[in-house]
Symmetry: D4
Subunit: 238 residues, 8 copies
């Protein structure tokens, strides 16, 4: 298949170099550009990941890549993973927990979770357990820590951004704070959430920018895979 792009140089080698595959942010691209980019990644890496797809781009991709290419669809971030039949998904054993304060934070959380899964991690999600009803948090959090034994937590919140600080005060694993662009008025659009996370009283959290689910996923995936790598090696191999 011949492929030519004069609008972008996809970084097809990133996964090898960085351990993080590239996710195409599709919302500013035409359906034709998204199809071309998907083709390029499928060819080079056996898999293509696109997020924030318009209905038009979604339709164009479904049309352009019939079976045997398989398509996985995530409704909330409107994301798609295409895989060649011979693609073998990685499985690292890394364990990531993803928590959201509200339902409006789920789309960015799902982007983070998607990237972690494509980096080979197991991902466990707990949604809508924010501080307006904190009693919903404790059970699921205990489960993530004691049963799942996550290596890292992503905690997404908009509005007041209080949940990541609350969680970070309770756990002994690193926390990645993910502010979402929820909120209005002064400090709206995620600004108050981001600032509150930067000001956290609870040690052991670092943050990414507003709505940067992919950045949060990359950070958490690298953390979890570092631990998983150690688990998978013979003890004397280092």
């Amino acid at each position: 298949m011949s492929w030519h792009s004069d609008f972008a140089r996809p970084d097809v080698g990133r996964e090898q170099r960085k351990g993080v595959p590239e996710i195409v942010l599709a919302d500013r691209k035409t359906p034709e550009q998204n199809v071309a980019l998907a083709a390029r990644f499928l060819e080079a890496e056996g898999r293509a990941i696109l997020s924030r797809l318009s209905p038009e781009s979604e339709a164009a991709l479904r049309l352009a890549f019939p079976l045997p290419t398989t398509i996985e669809w995530l409704a909330m971030p409107r994301a798609m993973v295409l895989r060649r039949p011979d693609y073998v998904p990685p499985q690292t054993g890394g364990r990531v927990g993803v928590i959201t304060a509200g339902t409006s934070d789920i789309a960015v959380a799902e982007e983070a979770a998607l990237l972690c899964r494509e980096m080979g991690c197991e991902v466990h999600t707990v949604y809508d357990v924010g501080v307006a009803g904190l009693h919903r948090l404790f059970g699921p959090l205990e489960h993530l820590l004691a049963q799942v034994q996550v290596d890292v937590l992503i905690v997404a919140a908009g509005m007041d951004g209080a949940l990541p600080s609350v969680v970070s005060g309770l756990v002994d694993v690193p926390v990645v704070g993910l502010p979402s662009s929820v909120g209005y008025g002064l400090g709206g659009g995620g600004v108050a959430a981001l600032l509150s996370m930067l000001q956290t009283c609870a040690p052991g959290m670092a943050v990414v920018n507003i709505d940067n689910g992919i950045g949060a996923g990359a950070m958490a995936g690298l953390i979890a895979n570092r631990a998983a790598l150690a688990r998978s090696r013979p003890k004397d191999s280092e």
Copy 2:
């Protein structure tokens, strides 16, 4: 006693008009000015309240007002209440709870508590129960709600400002959020705390400006005294 001021017009009638006595913010005034203002309020209202006193002003006031004037001193906000022997403190039956996230928030919380007490309320304080160690919160909060049956809560926090949202999500009384100027870097000086409170997910909270302990106390005192007034009246008097 003759008194003359060319630097300020103390609003000696405010308590009658507004139900809130004036607290002199002493930090930008000379010891002489603070003594003159204290004399003016003692004469007109039988009581003077000054906060944020320098050691020099404190000493000048102690010297200027010997017995039988009585002096009450609060160390954290460096505040002083002077009372004439014939002054009868008000007792309204209003009930106010004051909570702080950290120890650095205590000074502004004490200013709020002081004003509520001088408005005639009972004040109950719980300090240093912030989200970095949330397990410390639940017992004292339950006590304030069930035993004390507070009419209103003031919750002070700096840094991430998360505690007021957490509390407001748990209680059925109005909450006054009081951000304190604690914190560094982006969102420092209380800005992140204030924005986070303005963005709260939990209904039933309103806020005052950073370090405005007096504003928080005035609001809470008015709320509590409104309820206390209703409690104190015969049922058919309205």
Copy 3:
């Protein structure tokens, strides 16, 4: 009726826990989602409240809930209250006054008033009495204080945000400042109004975020109901 939601967990227990019913902000939801949420609240609580409805959502709701469900419609905030025939509205005796500076502030003021009424309060409104023509303020304000004897005032203003400070300087009840997103240029969108309210010279006011009519209503409703509760109890019952 079967109901399933994968986009939100409505907090149907909030009213019991917090004393504040949930108002669905409908503007970011599809007609189908709004109908589903309305059904859920009608079923669980006998009443559903939705605000900021698109014409499409309004039509869908009117179609989905014929008699005997009753529908109340508020034009300015485009809000709807649906009630089952067996729903008994609360009546607490709380008394709330709502004042606006201009006509552009009425929509958020109406949201606040709506929530107070649904919390059982009597609500009295006075609109368009801002500082550009202050002579219009004094008569209605006197009426609210002396005749109605309101427990709390909500004062909404955009632009310069001066009215809440003016009112707070004149009254002896707590004031909830409600900035609205009116205004252009520097400090526009309600920012100057909010900052001016945070900086008020007049003690006894706290504020909510820009356009947060629901937050203002929740705060005022809790304040008024606290006083009403005291009025309704036998004197020795506490």
Copy 4:
């Protein structure tokens, strides 16, 4: 007298060109520099105006310019006007009113008033009539409008900055809003006051920057002198 300056070029011709004399802002200059500048203006224009003088600069000036040079001292802005015995102060008949919201606004208001007087205007001041006690405003304002018949009003305010909008809504002369750097927390240092004035609902006001008393005085003096010039001319002279 020999004079040399390598640190500034005083604009000694400004009064002739612009109708506004220069006021030396003394706070960033050494006593020696202030003495040199005062000498320069006394020589060239018969009068020197300096504001924001340190005690050291004040003392140096008093020492350097004995009688017959006359010295006028304003305590609040720490300003000094020196005049040669042969200096004839201008008298234009322009009429300026200066109003402040609080006592903390007086220093910048006095700078504005000083400049207006040195431009030849009559100046009438009313201080400490802000919105926390608005009943104090109406009488003096009526006096300025009906008796004094001011050509222009300067209204200074810090904190919420509400007074200039209130005044501008009541009068039919131009208003110069003068924000002062009073206030703390978000919107502090005069920012909220400036923004609120920029957002005023009441037409007929323009503003200068925070603490720019001299700018407000220059604007008001030019406005008043324009009217005074018209009053002083024979009717058919134009």
Copy 5:
């Protein structure tokens, strides 16, 4: 004609009280609302002024008010003045100069000029003489000062906002700085222009908010009419 409005209380008495007629900002109103407001002002004052009209509102107004009502149309701000046949325009003799830096500033300048004319002033305009080609400024400015003898200048600028400071440094009449929302990137939308004007080095200028042509016109009109009033009175009448 019967008229009823539930969406606004037009301030039909403002012109008598303030000396400034109200201009209806039409862009957020429906054609029906604009027609109703125009009818209300025509009835009460004999004249209606509307600005920022959509083509739909313009058409509706032209249809609703046939002869003998006269219509004046300004293309740049899309403004309309309607007058009853018996309306007698005021003529005060006030003289206003309006200058713009660029062509993009003309719309707001025209709003200011319109209001001044409707307040009875003569208005003289000079457009597109900004600092990118300063040689174009001097001749027209000399004309305004020496021939026209303006009482006040409005100077509009976006982008760098440099022209008002340049003009204010050259003239001896008061200057009203009018920033326009021209400019991109940091300081865009008129913010840099406004800040630069607030920071002006040249005394004798005050400013209004970004795009507030009406505010600038009201201020300038009041200044010019104050001078004109003095010119029109017998010398001994005061």
Copy 6:
């Protein structure tokens, strides 16, 4: 030894609960308070860590804790670690690399490194390799990755904040960006550095607030210790 504190509740259990010991920020405390806090931590945990000590506090601590208590001193952040003779430092095998762009970033980097060491990690530092002379970076970075095999990198930078993005683009381990308060003018005090890091093009970095060396150290220490825990366990133990 009797110990009483009415100014703070040291969280002596934090290390057990969170895996992160508390570092006392000493700069806002008196020498007496710092000595008391050090005694409290020595008693409860066998070790006390204080940073940002004034010379007075340093001297007081050296005097108060003679041998056999051992003292370690770090000059750049003016930090001190006191240990009881029986204290056994943890050794987890976690591996942390710390890089700074300039010499001004070293103090916060040293705080981060200190905390990592006290959490049991090996720490390797490379200082002053910023983008003004990028050729200095590549060799040391290769060493950290290939020889040391760090689990995580902390990269500190002020001014333009470019180095963390450059490093994150080159490595396959998680990066913690640490902005320092270096820089002047617009974006100064670390703001530009923080924003640039939040906007990084290179996936796999999360950030802490300006000058929050302790936060960066806590995050990196938890990441490294998670990997070290996996390395230290028998393969089948999980």
Copy 7:
């Protein structure tokens, strides 16, 4: 050809006066206005340059200016250069290099390059060599410096804005930093990029505003042409 404009005064003499031709920013103008402006510049200068053309304006221009007028089209900034047959393009010998960090920066970079070429410079471009994959930078940069011997570099970047600092640290020619409006969340829209460039650690760079490709091109063109002028003159001619 008759031409009249009431919406703009094109500065047809700018190229002679400033050495920089005017580029019409077409995005806020109608097709008719753009055609009229193009005609005006073609007539006066033999060439017209328009950028950011809508498809409608592009079509109108192509229709209005058939052969023998020649048309050059740049797809990324949607820019057009029209030339009369007798137009002789300048050739100065100035040498400009243009580098971008990503593909999203190309549109503004192309505007800069276009202006440099129309000023007579040779322009050499290198795109998509940002810090997420810095290995792509060094070869092309060496080529620009050693082979092409550029007089000046324009470096465009959005997001973190790190590339211009990296380049400026490596080269000995002046660098013009060009931030582009790429990026989201806090510091988005090019703000972080601009601030980071203003804070650069590497001497020898100055910046223009976000997306101001034309400003960057004008600065670089003037720098290169100054050097080219010196190269083209006989040695003793100065």
Copy 8:
């Protein structure tokens, strides 16, 4: 002489690599550190440049480096250049003009001029010709352009920052805008000046950060030396 530094790595090779010598910013360093750095640069490059010296550091340097080391002192930026007897100053023939709006801008302008001179350029300065008295500008500017034939202009301004735009609109050489931290209130500290320069209407200017005289000097020096290099070479040498 033995030299050791553990607090900084002076970039002694920068002049060779970048064409820009390093200027030590001395204000945050101890006298001992400044002496050590001066010694290091004198040894390696024959010259040391330090700016913003405290009186203590100045005295220490004068003591540490007696004859035959020569010392040049600049009073306004408190800068010192030390030279070994064998140091041969560069003379490139580059020509730089430096203009300031006010006297407060001279210190940063002198830093820029100093760096240009040390890079081998001739520097011509014109101070205090800002827009408050623009008539002072034209003569000196004409001289710089026609007689001196500068290759580049640095224009420094604080407050409104209007002068650089005015100059850039008049000249055909590149302009480096240098905002200085002069100004108060909103937009103070040089922010309005910087934003106004970024928004300039006049093409051919780029800017550096507030008070970055050294950055402006480096940029201008590189521009001038590029032109000078071309002038100095035989015509056919390129």
